[in-house]
């Protein structure tokens, strides 16, 4: 059969269908009108109209984080593309596979400073895994195929495809490639067997072993094999902010999150261990803080990562294992079976005892006299009411840390936040992406009164698509994390961190057609949450404005540049 001859716009849409795309998050404009016309005439995927292009990319990003599939966003040229940049950079920092299709001015107008023209490929180059400008209608299909392939393999990331308007109007044969081969891009997925046996040898002979897993374990769908390995070897484990849910938080081997706001026991164990197994984590500044201090206690480090460039970037690695984390963990388990008989688990008893003493300091305790609402208690109640099974998205700041600290995640892909770029405003569009992917699941967006206003316009999108998200706003009338740093390091000079002239969030929610609640008393927290998650409001978005303690701080805290063991604890204050 001869291939059909169709327009570039139709090729674009058909290519997305070939990739089994379920949702396209987008916003129309001049340069993508042909593509939108083609979308209008198809029913295979659903287009979700956002209210700002930034949110389109965030929602596509969250869809990917929650499902593991590639998220798709569609934006127009010029401002459409520049608005998308924050979303793209956010996804790039957290290695999230998304494909962004952007319209471009017609090829003959490129470089002429045409209306709504910008150098999208140039602007996005530093914050994508790869990007393309398609100048030939015959190359649209193969380019989109490559884009999905690159986005979803190796270390995942965003890929942008910029398509000029005239190319979407021209016609060509539609042939979607079944497979793709790129001589310049061949990610290594199988770990080196010699390194794997060396790693197991180190682990079973360690006196103070420790496991630290990150976003790679979640994105690589390695939670099961990670849990199996850790339980089998009976090792203590911590997760990074991005790795939460990669190992069940309720398990006794779990020491909590590590890093700048990590638990005392996790940070101390990281500092003092003698053998460290790092799984899909990258030793970044918010996690191990100061590398010199981290290495003061000598340790052998095994690092599993899909990205060779992550190895020995901030900390010298003794045993690098480049490969797909899940496959490498499975190989580690196999290698362990052969030496299991030599493994004396008692060797680490004194170490486990030491960790227990650290845990006994109860670093997460906070004072609650029952009057003003403590933000931590809202998260704990949220955990109870949702039975620990909700998708939790967050914005960026104190509320993000409290959500990470006080909502224990037992499953991967449930905790959706911007760890790398730290983008305020992601929370609501992230919740949209999750709720669309899982319409029957509970989705809560933990946010602050500052963050939520950065993408507040999406309340309108939520109404249009009936997304029953529960927005948990911890409203302390401050940009809390900025205020905390100003209190600790800038002599209480609260420069521009007070959010004056706040809207009435209840009325605001109502004006968008949602339910608004204001909760001012500690005793009302649980009741309000139960009501919001009750069958009565199951179909409704509920905006919950919790008026919380204005000066509460996040503890423990490692001041910037200090070592992992140099935490400020709540009791020191």
């Amino acid at each position: 059969m001869k291939p059909e001859i169709i327009t570039g716009a139709e090729i674009t849409i058909r290519s997305l269908q070939e990739e089994n795309v379920e949702f396209v998050f987008g916003y129309p404009g001049g340069a993508v009108l042909n593509i939108y016309d083609a979308i209008h005439q198809q029913t295979e995927f659903k287009h979700v109209l956002v209210r700002h292009e930034q949110a389109a990319v965030h929602a596509a990003d969250a869809f990917s984080r929650a499902t593991g599939k590639v998220g798709v966003a569609l934006v127009t040229s010029g401002p459409g593309a520049t608005n998308a940049v924050t979303g793209i950079a956010t996804a790039h920092m957290d290695s999230i596979p998304i494909v962004i299709i952007s319209g471009q001015v017609p090829t003959h107008a490129i470089g002429s400073d045409a209306f709504q023209e910008c150098d999208t490929v140039g602007i996005t180059r530093p914050c994508v895994k790869h990007n393309f400008l398609v100048k030939d209608v015959n190359k649209i299909a193969s380019t989109i195929k490559k884009a999905f392939f690159i986005a979803s393999t190796g270390r995942p990331g965003p890929v942008l495809v910029d398509i000029p308007k005239d190319i979407t109007a021209e016609t060509a044969e539609f042939i979607y490639p079944k497979t793709i081969e790129m001589r310049s891009y061949k990610p290594v997925i199988k770990g080196h067997s010699g390194q794997i046996s060396k790693a197991i040898d180190l682990l079973i002979n360690a006196q103070k072993p420790m496991v630290y897993s990150g976003g790679g374990a979640v994105l690589g769908d390695a939670a099961k094999s990670l849990t199996k390995l850790v339980k089998k070897l009976d090792l203590p484990i911590t997760n990074t902010l991005m790795g939460l849910g990669g190992f069940p938080a309720s398990d006794e081997n779990f020491l909590g999150m590590l890093g700048m706001h990590g638990t005392y026991q996790a940070n101390m164990a990281m500092q003092e261990c003698d053998v460290l197994l790092a799984v899909g984590a990258r030793f970044d500044d918010r996690v191990i803080s100061n590398p010199e201090h981290f290495l003061k206690n000598p340790k052998k480090i095994i690092h599993i990562d899909i990205d060779p460039a992550s190895i020995s970037k901030r900390v010298k690695i003794d045993i690098p294992i480049v490969g797909d984390v899940d496959l490498v963990l499975i190989d580690l388990l196999k290698a362990y079976q052969e030496v299991e008989k030599n493994h004396n688990k008692k060797l680490i008893s004194p170490w486990m005892e030491k960790i227990k003493n650290w845990t006994d300091t109860d670093c997460m305790a906070y004072k609650d006299n029952g009057s003003v609402i403590k933000p931590q208690s809202v998260i704990q109640k949220l955990h109870e009411v949702t039975e620990g099974d909700a998708f939790i998205t967050s914005d960026v700041g104190q509320h993000q840390m409290w959500a990470a600290q006080y909502y224990p995640f037992d499953k991967p892909r449930r905790w959706i936040n911007s760890g790398g770029l730290g983008t305020m405003g992601v929370g609501l569009p992230y919740a949209m992406g999750c709720q669309l992917a899982f319409p029957e699941s509970q989705v809560a967006c933990v946010t602050g009164e500052a963050s939520i206003q950065m993408c507040i316009q999406e309340l309108s999108t939520c109404k249009q698509y009936n997304l029953p998200i529960k927005i948990i706003t911890l409203n302390n009338r401050y940009m809390g994390m900025v205020r905390q740093w100003q209190e600790f390091f800038y002599g209480n000079r609260y420069a521009e961190s007070y959010v004056d002239a706040l809207p009435d969030f209840v009325k605001l929610a109502e004006s968008y057609g949602h339910v608004g609640m204001k909760i001012e008393k500690s005793s009302d927290v649980e009741g309000a949450l139960k009501e919001a998650f009750s069958p009565k409001l199951k179909e409704r978005l509920v905006f919950m404005d919790f008026i919380t303690d204005q000066t509460e701080n996040v503890f423990p805290m490692i001041p910037s540049g200090k070592g992992l063991s140099e935490m400020i604890l709540a009791k020191d204050e």
Partner: protein
């Protein structure tokens, strides 16, 4: 330490900016960067001269390999190699300088490619350091203009960069 890194990349538009962007974004040094097509017209060969500690060079190589369009990377300093750079220099060649410039150029194996009334234009190839030495030998006041390609390099013997 100074390293000469050679790489082959897909001959696509924007390939050069991916490499130069990587160096500026991550704060790596570029002493020189040279790019031209190869005998295979789908590939460009780039030669980058950079400097940094062993750790930094290791990261540079990894980051270059990570670029989707980069097919192969070789750190020439990992083995024996030949380095050459081409320079064209325009110098004052008035009475007092004419003989001296000719003598120095001969010593370095330079070729005078234009003799104008008051200037000589000299072509010289060699390792970059040799070109530096040549310039140092000339009277600074005599040098009017210099243009250099940046170093190119190739492995000795069996060491090759090819796909």
């Amino acid at each position: 330490m100074r390293h000469i890194i050679s790489l082959l990349m897909e001959n696509e538009s924007g390939a050069l900016s991916r490499v130069s962007g990587l160096f500026s974004a991550r704060g790596y040094n570029i002493e020189s960067l040279n790019v031209a097509p190869t005998e295979d017209d789908t590939l460009s060969r780039m030669t980058i001269v950079t400097s940094g500690s062993n750790e930094v060079i290791e990261q540079i190589i990894k980051q270059l390999n990570k670029l989707i369009d980069v097919v192969k990377v070789l750190d020439l300093n990992d083995g024996r190699h030949i380095e050459r750079e081409l320079m064209i220099v325009k110098v004052k060649a008035t009475n007092k300088y004419r003989d001296e410039v000719k003598r120095i150029s001969d010593t370095f194996g330079g070729r005078i490619i234009e003799m104008a009334e008051t200037t000589f234009t000299i072509e010289l190839t060699g390792p970059s350091s040799e070109l530096d030495d040549y310039l140092d030998s000339l009277d600074k006041a005599a040098i009017i203009e210099t243009v250099r390609t940046g170093a190119l390099g190739i492995g000795r013997g069996e060491r090759i960069l090819k796909i």
